[in-house]
Amino acid sequence: MAPILSISDLSKTYDTGFQALKTVSLEIEKGEIFALLGPNGAGKTTLISIVCGIVNASSGTVTVDGNDIVRDYRAARSLIGLVPQELTTDAFESVWATVSFSRGLFGKPKAPEIVEKVLRDLSLWDKKDSKLVTLSGGMKRRVLIAKALAHEPRVLFLDEPTAGVDVELRRDMWRVIRELRDTGVTIILTTHYIEEAEEMADRVGVINKGEIVLVEEKAELMRKLGRKQLALHLAVPLAAVPDGLSAHNLELSDDGEELIYTYDTTGERTGITTLLQDLNATGIRFRDLQTRQSSLEEIFVNLVRTPS
């Protein structure tokens, strides 16, 4: 299946001379939820802004369902909805008016029933006549989502949709996003929250300093996450892993006080029982034991950490 969004060799150097993106390539499949993770300043917003036509790329090409974003910008942009990171709304417009405006702006004829549905889905219906200035931050965020959905986009970009949003609203948004995905909308969201990516995404991409450093199926990541470590604190430090235990996947810590066993929790056998039996047989005694699991967060931190 051809990807719905195809980014190739995209780079961006701002007027200040700062290179925000260094030859980024990425393909997004139709109907998936893709989470783009990255620290502040990684280039997430820049990437999204280029795809949506708000920032000009320095080089590279982007196509949306086969439409080049520069040459066939009308076709490309009609397919896209964008929820920006910043809460930028007009002040004195009503919710209804601003959402209807967005629909018209994207070239769609008036359709009160669609606007109504969008507002109801986002629990904004009772606020439809409220002026935007009177809404809370979370409500404004919903209005921005409603505006992005008003023209029934096929691809939805959400730039940190849950920043500054309480738990309940976040659950609501996740539900809305899943429902959209079920109707075939492709969703690309950026986030700082690892749990959000874990919870929502089909695939995860990590961007750091303008470079995509990892793109992986979440299932694959979860498999990596499924890897656990068992740490055994030895009663007597060892100089090396004893020969009698070489059959096991063991490592010795630098100070010799800890034996570390890595195993796969998703595997049929973890091998823990035999390990313990063999330890007993070799006469190694331990004071304490502990299991650890690497989280997506840890993987993420390792990926984006600056080597010092």
């Binding site: 949506c52 920032v55 000009n56 942009r77 964008l82 910043e86 967005s102 018209g104 994207f106 070239g107």
Partner: protein, 253 residues
């Protein structure tokens, strides 16, 4: 053509005007009345006639032009500057609209409002002085061309400005003086010969002159020249806007 988008932006802009409807209508009515009191009644009583037209009637086309210019520039510059300032411009930039459509919508709305104000002033003036309009078709043409041209200029200013001072600066320091010195309240022929020459470099002279001709059939410069100059200025503004959009100047980084 994305007609829905043009309509959406145009309606949005007109709704913005609608919210300040009272101010939009009342302030030109009041200021026009003041001009009539000061210039028409107080000064006009000492100036009998200009080119065979009573002074009160003589200044009407100039007064309308004065408001038309300032209204066009301020409406259009504010209309495009404000979304840039608040950041809501992102939506227009990400929409499937061409630059031409953006200009038509914003400039169209700004010009519409300016023309409405112009007509309100005309109606107010009719309460003070007996008016005749010899060439109503031409009158409307000049009204339209001027409103569009100066709304384009306002649009350019709204894109160029990166703070509110600059936004105020051009209308205050350039448009108003040019309009005052362009013969809003006097005939060029009343000036010393040297200043008559200098004044011809003021583009507003041609607008006012042409507009006044459509009322009273007489003018400082020929109506053909007036029309040509107006169109020239219109073309100039269009060229600048074309360049702005071609380069993405101040709209996209």
């Amino acid at each position: 053509m994305n007609i829905h988008a043009i309509k959406a932006i145009y309606r949005f802009e007109m709704a913005r005007t609608g919210r300040t409807l009272f101010q939009s209508i009342v302030s030109p009515v009041i200021s026009t009345s003041l001009y009539f009191v000061v210039f028409g009644a107080a000064i006009g009583s000492r100036i009998a006639e200009v080119d065979g037209v009573s002074y009160g009637a003589f200044i009407v086309p100039g007064l309308i032009m004065l408001s038309l210019l300032t209204q066009s520039v301020s409406n259009a510059s504010f209309g495009i500057y404000f979304p840039r300032f608040t950041g809501t411009i992102y939506e227009v930039l990400s929409a499937p609209v061409s630059y031409l459509e953006i200009v038509i919508a914003y400039v169209g709305a700004a010009a519409t409002k300016a023309i409405i104000v112009g007509l309100i002033i005309l109606a107010t003036a009719a309460l003070f002085v007996p008016l005749e309009i010899q060439h109503p078709g031409w009158m409307l043409l000049f009204l339209l061309l001027t409103a569009v041209t100066f709304s384009l200029l306002g649009f350019i200013i709204g894109i160029w400005a990166d703070n509110f001072e600059k936004l105020q600066f051009v209308p205050m320091l350039i448009i108003t003086p040019l309009a005052f010195l362009g013969g809003s309240f006097y005939s060029i022929s009343m000036l010393p010969p040297f200043w008559q020459k200098v004044t011809l470099f003021n583009p507003v002279v041609y607008l006012i002159s042409g507009f006044r001709w459509s009322f009273y059939g007489q003018a400082d410069v020929g109506v053909g020249v007036s029309l040509a100059m107006t169109l020239l200025f219109l073309g100039l503004c269009l060229a600048v806007i074309w360049w702005i959009f071609r380069t993405g100047y101040r709209l996209k980084s």
